[in-house]
């Protein structure tokens, strides 16, 4: 969780035409992949760093190219509690993904070795994607990491 309320955020304020739907869906997918926090409809946030700012800037340009409006801002919450709410919303979304990954890794333990190894490779890629949007290091990451490690050990045992 955020340790201090003075953290800075980069915000994207945007509005994109409903039709055509292709650019709108593309933008929505990219924001989802980044794991942005939603402040209100059309206002999303990421913890401020050069990389996150750049990623939102490219999306802003995509919105503009699609005939919408977009602007990028750097902001600070005036209270710790509203910042916590935003961080919690983002963390909860990532936690759900980690839990699903943990379950999938445990379920895969019973698979025959070749399938188990393929599933392990897929789940490792999935874990990497989730980590990319885990901005607050949620606790569920540990269980997912442990479940993947167990599955990895099992796969190595077979390989020996």
């Amino acid at each position: 969780m955020v340790s201090e309320s003075s953290a800075k955020w980069v915000l994207l304020a945007y509005r994109i035409p409903r039709e055509p739907s292709t650019p709108r869906i593309s933008v929505w997918r990219k924001l989802r992949k980044l794991g942005v926090g939603h402040l209100v409809d059309g206002l999303v946030a990421l913890p401020l760093d050069a990389r996150n700012q750049e990623r939102l800037e490219w999306i802003a340009d995509e919105v503009l190219e699609a005939g919408g409006h977009a602007s990028i801002w750097v902001a600070q919450s005036t209270t710790a509690s509203q910042e916590r709410d935003l961080a919690r919303q983002m963390g909860d979304a990532v936690a759900v993904e980690y839990r699903a990954l943990t379950d999938a890794a445990r379920d895969a333990a019973g698979l025959p070795p070749p399938q188990r190894r393929r599933t392990l490779a897929r789940l490792r890629r999935e874990a990497q994607r989730i980590r990319g949007r885990d901005y607050f290091s949620v606790a569920e990451a540990d269980a997912a990491r442990a479940a993947l490690a167990d599955l990895g050990h099992a796969a190595e045992e077979v390989a020996r």
């Binding site: 593309s26 992949k33 050069a50 990389r51 490219w58 802003a60 340009d61 995509e62 994607r129």
Partner: protein
Amino acid sequence: MRWATRRGCHVDRAACAWLIRRHLDDDPAFVFVDDPADVPGDATPFDMRGVDLAHHGDDCTFETILRRYHLDDPVLWDLARLVHEADLADDRYDAPEAHGLDVICRGLSMVADDDTVLAITAPMFDGLYEYRRRALMLGREPS
């Protein structure tokens, strides 16, 4: 010619600078700026907001430059998959090396200024190009 891009070169900008040096301009000079408004009048901006040589749709800047300058070398397009995944990680391409490339470039930018990052990554991209050229020729990973 002068080329301008924003400060803090990661994988896409470093790869673009390499591409410019190897395929577009024998003697390029790179200028690094913080704001698009600071781009010198005689410089061609790339990988910055609101300029032509930037991300477009799902393309990263490296891919945009290949398109704009009609660079149709299949090895460059093969490298583009790697740069795209290292920069965007959107699973458009299957490029498992991409994550490593991204980490290397990010680490470099933590310890070196932009000129140094470009100087170090140039031979790295030369090597990647040669590796992928041989891989395409052989139809498998070269030994």
